[in-house]
């Protein structure tokens, strides 16, 4: 089985969160379906496009889906939740609006029949990889407590995405359990990290991320697991600044769930990109021994 791989701008090689993409691909060499990059993919229409021009952002998204369809993919993996959400919403928008569908088809010069299913990374693991993880488990961490952080985009808007419980999601916790780490019960699973305000309203982001980091630490977590480049940036890259602003020390590693899976499969920290974080990840890596 082959699944269309849509990296998007944030996790493609050379981008700010390339370690997410690197680890997803590295893990897929060992477990789960074969991932094949969709040739000639383009921007998903997130950030500026969907805030300024609905038709443009929809056409951008749909072009990727139509390409996938053209190459015979039944499913697409979009590890960045901003991408997966944009693709799913655009799919729904054209399905609900005949006129928009026609305009989009004219713009991209391809039909869009939207039979393709869009998966986020947690969904891919849950649907196809849980047995493989159990079979290929090489290293289980000793007493590693993980706070699974979903953020907003993986589960919202619930009516459109229809993935997991929007108030108390469990899918990442199940993956954490499957690799032998311990998910902690905590209260900030789906709180906002400040998302796109990271540059324009850093003050807001600092307050929100401080709450999240504090919640994870109070719940006894050794690290926070994420599946979103934006969450990662705000919690990892901004952590020093948060510590300075609130005059405290967290020093809590923020790791992608794909990196954790990779460690459990003994794939080597550097090949997973764990050396590219702002907060040192050594403690997490060392727990897998």
């Amino acid at each position: 089985m082959r699944i269309g791989y849509y990296p998007g701008c944030a996790i493609t090689t050379g981008s700010s969160s390339e370690e997410y993409g690197t680890s997803v691909l590295r893990v897929s060499q060992v477990i789960g379906p074969e991932l094949e990059e969709i040739h000639d993919w383009n921007c998903c229409g997130a950030s500026s496009a969907h805030a300024t021009n609905h038709k443009l952002s929809t056409a951008l998204s749909i072009r990727n889906i139509s390409l996938a369809e053209k190459y015979g993919f039944k499913e697409i993996l979009a590890p960045c939740p901003m991408c997966s959400q944009r693709l799913i919403i655009s799919q729904k928008d054209v399905a609900d609006d005949e006129k928009l569908k026609k305009e989009v088809e004219d713009a991209i010069e391809m039909p869009c029949n939207s039979g393709v299913k869009i998966l986020n990374y947690l969904e891919l693991i849950k649907n196809y990889c849980m047995d493989d993880i159990a079979k290929n488990l090489k290293k289980t961490p000793k007493d590693l407590k993980i706070a699974s952080y979903y953020g907003c985009l993986l589960v919202r808007p619930p009516k459109v995405l229809q993935f997991d419980d929007p108030e108390d999601p469990k899918s990442m916790d199940e993956i954490v359990k499957a690799i032998g780490a311990k998910p902690v019960e905590w209260e900030f699973k789906t709180n906002c990290c400040g998302g796109g305000f990271t540059l324009s309203r850093t003050d807001v982001v600092l307050k929100l991320t401080n709450d999240i980091l504090e919640g994870a630490v109070e719940a006894g977590a050794d690290a926070i697991a994420v599946a979103c480049p934006m969450c990662h940036a705000n919690l990892d890259m901004r952590q020093k600044k948060i510590e300075k602003e609130y005059n405290r020390k967290f020093n809590i590693p923020i790791v992608y769930i794909s990196e954790l899976i990779g460690l459990a499969l003994d794939l080597g920290a550097i090949s997973l990109g764990l050396n590219k974080h702002f907060v040192e990840t050594e403690s997490v890596v060392n727990a897998f021994s």
Partner: protein, 681 residues
């Protein structure tokens, strides 16, 4: 002899005449419609002079058919038919042409309205030409009533009917009557103790010579029709003989299973496996919870009769009744049959499920409780003896947050409606809290404060002004645990600020929902329900307690959220309808019922026995009849309509593939005559 038809066009003040030229309608009717021998108009046809005009003209003009062009037949068809009866004319020759709801009220252009009215009148004239005399159907009345549900509404209805001299069967599925009202601490707006006003009524039910009480029993099946219902009641195995048991308490005192969550205490207190739901229960005799009883568990595991299990027989050993013990492990469900003439449905409501609001931690955090749970905490007979204590650690909460509209008015959670009682009971809760925890502080998050009722607004104001509750207008977005506190994040929309309260307890004013099995139950009774599964009254204003099935009435919260005074009033209204129905030996029913074709041999009936009609009938009125030869062999099986059950909806007639079903007063010939009378341009 052809019919002489009179057309009476009503102005309805200006309701009709403002958009319809009534004079022209009358004139055209006489000019163009065959059979019309007399026409007139009147300012108010339904008034006494209007009705007199109708009666006089029937006599003077020798009219044999009447068309009244006026409001909806739902309003005044009966009025004009009664007027006709007084002159000796069969009332089914009187028809209404609705030129108000279906014409003047929906059109603005007078020319359009007038043309349409002329058409409508012509259609009805054509139908009237083909009207036949019909005779009302007489049905015998069984002078007993069934009340389903033993909460305050059911109890009130049962008492009122019984006081009126009729026998009442009261069926309650729990082990005791009392319902939700028995769980409440104090009641608004007077703060009188719920138990003190409820338990005497419960005792009255138990002692009333006209009331036969079935507790721990459910309705298995409802057959028959208005005046003659056949009821099957499932008496669930109680494992205790109610006649022998004296309620001495010996059994439940020795029961070793003591940690079962009490349903009556909303899970905040414990009960034993053999138990009486609460001390004031009626009957005050126990029931064995077979799910949790050690003996029954053991018997299930080993697949042996319960009586053979030796695991625990403490309750039966402790029972002092001799020589036959009052406890009987081998008891089985029993089906009892009863005949009644009328039914009151008072099956109540349930509270919105805990887990639906993940964002408030309902069902996850012990100190986030529901309104009914707070009632149990505040009740003197509750698990904390009336002290407000946190379920988690028994601490008295110094800061308490009440969140209103949890579920209610929130279409995303499936309840678009207002639960109506929560504003008042939350105000009451803040008062009860303040009376018990003097130094504590109560916050209330609300959308609106809806306290429309006698002395209600004053009550809510008292909570704010005298008892010092802080009311914040806005929604709560999240509740989460932080140490032993609950952080409540909300908005105060009046100051435009974000509020963060570290509370020690949170009370959710959870929505009132229809019972889980409401749909299934409604189908059992052939009554209708609305989008929220509350049972539907037949007219929201003029028939508020009548269900869609004749002889079945509604009372209390099964019909929609309401408070105690409203439930009691509705129960009284339902009871008065039942009393009126049971006051005569025979009932007259509208003869507008369906009839399946019958013919002489060898055809017998054009019915082909497909029974599609049976499938579509919402009232289970279609029966199968075997047409037999002299030797008893079945020639064919055809449909037959039970006139008692038929409500004249016409679904069967429309569905019938062989045109074998005719609805009296609305047969094919009449309907086609109406359609053909429309002038198409």
């Amino acid at each position: 002899m052809s019919k002489k038809i009179g057309v009476f066009v009503c102005h309805c003040g200006t309701n009709i005449s403002a958009t319809v030229d009534v004079e022209k309608v009358a004139e055209e009717a006489k000019k163009k419609n065959p059979g019309v021998t007399y026409t007139t108009t009147h300012k108010y046809m339904c008034s006494d002079p209007g009705q007199k005009l109708l009666r006089d003209k029937i006599k003077e003009e020798g009219l044999t058919g009447i068309v009244v062009a006026a409001c909806s037949p739902k309003m005044h068809e009966r009025t004009f038919r009664n007027a006709a009866i007084k002159t000796g004319l069969n009332p089914y020759h009187v028809e209404i042409s609705n030129i108000r709801e279906q014409c003047s009220w929906v059109h603005k252009d007078k020319a359009v309205g007038t043309t349409k009215s002329i058409d409508l009148v012509r259609m009805m004239t054509e139908k009237t030409r083909k009207d036949k005399s019909l005779k009302p159907i007489k049905v015998h009345v069984t002078k007993r009533a069934l009340v389903i549900g033993g909460g305050i509404a059911g109890i009130q209805a049962a008492l009122d009917i019984a006081d009126g001299g009729n026998e009442v069967i009261l069926v309650e599925r729990e082990a005791s009557i009392g319902g939700h009202m028995a769980q409440l601490s104090e009641t608004f707006p007077t703060l009188d103790c719920s138990q003190c006003i409820m338990t005497p009524k419960m005792v009255e039910v138990a002692q009333h010579e006209n009331i036969k009480l079935y507790t721990w029993s459910e309705i298995e099946a409802v057959g028959g029709y208005l005046g003659n219902f056949d009821i099957k009641i499932r008496k669930k195995a109680r494992s205790v003989d109610l006649d022998l048991c004296t309620g001495c308490s010996s059994c439940w005192q020795v029961c070793p299973s003591k940690k079962i969550k009490s349903e009556f205490d909303m899970g905040l207190g414990n009960r034993t496996a053999i138990y009486v739901p609460f001390p004031q229960a009626i009957p005050s005799k126990p029931v064995i919870d077979r799910e949790n009883c050690l003996l029954f568990k053991d018997a299930r595991k080993k697949n042996i009769p319960p009586n053979d299990s030796k695991v625990c027989r403490k309750c039966i050993d402790a029972c002092p009744i001799a020589p036959v013990k009052a406890i009987d492990y081998s008891q089985e469900d029993e089906i009892v049959e009863e005949k009644v003439g009328a039914i009151v449905v008072a099956t109540g409501y349930r509270e919105l499920e805990d887990g639906l609001y993940g964002e408030y931690g309902g069902g996850k955090y012990k100190d986030v409780i529901t309104g009914l749970q707070f009632e149990r905490l505040a009740s003197a007979s509750g698990p904390t003896d009336g002290m407000i204590k946190r379920p988690s650690d028994g601490k008295e909460p110094e800061i308490i947050v009440f969140i209103q509209c949890v579920g209610s008015r929130d279409p995303s959670k499936g309840c678009s409606y207002c639960s109506k009682t929560c504003c008042m009971y939350t105000a009451k809760h803040t008062m009860l809290y303040k009376h018990k925890v003097h130094h504590g502080h109560a916050y209330v998050f609300y959308i609106d404060i809806r306290c429309a009722g006698k002395s209600y607004e004053e009550f809510a104001q008292r909570a704010i002004e005298e008892e010092g509750a802080t009311y914040l207008r806005g929604r709560v977005s999240r509740v989460y645990q932080k140490g032993d506190k609950l952080v409540v994040l909300g908005a105060d929309t009046l100051t435009g600020s974000v509020v963060e309260i570290e509370a020690e307890m949170v009370v959710l004013a959870s929505a009132m929902k229809a019972q889980d099995d409401a749909g299934e139950f409604a189908r059992k009774l052939s009554i209708q329900y609305d989008k929220d599964m509350f049972f539907s009254e037949i007219h929201p204003k003029l028939k508020p307690v009548e269900s869609s099935s004749a002889g079945i009435f509604l009372a209390g919260t099964c019909q929609g959220p309401k408070d105690i005074p409203e439930a009691v009033a509705q129960a009284g209204a339902a009871a008065s309808k039942v009393l009126a129905l049971l006051s005569s030996d025979e009932l007259e029913r509208e003869p507008v019922v369906a009839r399946v074709d019958r013919q002489l041999p060898p055809v017998f009936s054009t019915c082909i026995g497909c029974f599609y009609c049976q499938k579509v009938c919402p009232y289970s009125a279609i029966e199968q009849e075997d047409i037999k030869a002299r030797d008893g062999s079945v020639i064919k099986t055809v449909a037959r309509v039970n006139e008692g059950l038929c409500q004249g909806c016409g679904l069967c007639a429309a569905t019938c593939r062989s045109k074998s079903i005719e609805l009296a007063g609305f047969n094919d010939e009449q309907i086609y005559a109406e359609i053909n009378a429309v002038e198409f341009n």
